[in-house]
């Protein structure tokens, strides 16, 4: 989409040994099976994460009682090749409905073979969540919370088969 300064983009990729349709389906239709349980914004843990299969659709979590909590919107839907989501969760994990304060997550799926799919995730515009910077710093300063996160991250990236 728009050109963005590279330092405000996060890229991740992973190669999965499944057909493209399955990779796409697990990503958007079974998100609750892999999304880290600690990363939820509702009071209760999520039971389901729904990505409505159309541009303009909603992206939200659903708890066991059926309460919904918005995460973002579907900006683009090109199954099974690409889906683009708007990310409205600040660093405080609260939903901000202002799209001007949202970032963008694009996920591309490329079939490298009948059962090999390359998944590339690009999260851009993260500086739009800049208001959360002070909080991030506070988290970093609090003992044990974010200490050494950059070092840990670097370690994880290096030891991982992705990218």
């Amino acid at each position: 989409m728009v050109e963005t300064a590279e330092e405000t983009v996060v890229r991740k990729s992973v190669r999965v040994q499944v057909p493209i349709e399955r990779a796409f389906s697990v990503f958007v239709e079974q998100m609750e099976t892999w999304w880290p349980a600690s990363h939820h914004i509702a009071a209760q843990p999520f039971q389901t994460i729904v990505v409505e299969p159309r541009a303009g659709g909603r992206w939200y979590e659903l708890d066991a009682q059926g309460s919904e909590c918005d995460w973002g919107r579907v900006l683009d839907w090109e199954a099974p090749n690409k889906v683009t989501l708007s990310w409205h969760l600040g660093t405080d994990w609260k939903f901000n409905p202002d799209i001007g304060m949202s970032s963008e997550v694009e996920i591309r799926f490329t079939a490298e073979g009948p059962s090999t799919t390359f998944v590339e995730l690009t999260h851009s515009g993260i500086e739009r969540h800049g208001e959360g910077y002070e909080q991030l710093r506070a988290m970093l300063d609090s003992p044990g919370a974010w200490e050494g996160i950059l070092a840990e991250f670097a370690k994880a990236v290096e030891s991982q088969a992705t990218n």
Partner: protein, 117 residues
């Protein structure tokens, strides 16, 4: 486009802030230089810069009578680390979930089927 998106896109103030941020990504600039390249007034640019500064995304320094603004690498790095961590934590489980055999799919999936049926 739904009304949600429309109302959000009307938030021109944030678009301007983005534009300022992008320009500063190219290197340090003074307020009047920024204002000269944007369709907004100098006071408006100053106001946006203040928001960016409060958010820790830009820093300023004095150069004679001019005030020079530049991106705050620490602020950007923290934001980046936050999102790197979010996706780092998510991608491996995604891989595992995609590659697990289709039979006996996990409970979350079954629950959703029940909800929808």
């Amino acid at each position: 486009m739904d009304t949600y998106l429309q109302s959000g896109l009307e938030a021109l103030g944030d678009a301007t802030r983005m534009a300022i941020f992008q320009k500063l990504a190219g290197g340090p600039m003074a307020v009047h230089e920024l204002a000269g390249t944007l369709p907004v007034s100098r006071p408006a640019v100053s106001q946006h810069l203040r928001v960016l500064k409060d958010a820790g995304l830009v820093t300023d320094s004095k150069d004679g009578t001019r005030r020079i603004y530049q991106l705050n690498p620490e602020g950007i790095a923290l934001l980046r680390a936050h999102f790197e961590q979010v996706w780092e934590k998510a991608m491996s489980p995604f891989q595992a979930s995609a590659e697990q055999p289709k039979t006996g799919e996990n409970r979350g999936r079954d629950r959703r089927r029940n909800r929808r049926s």
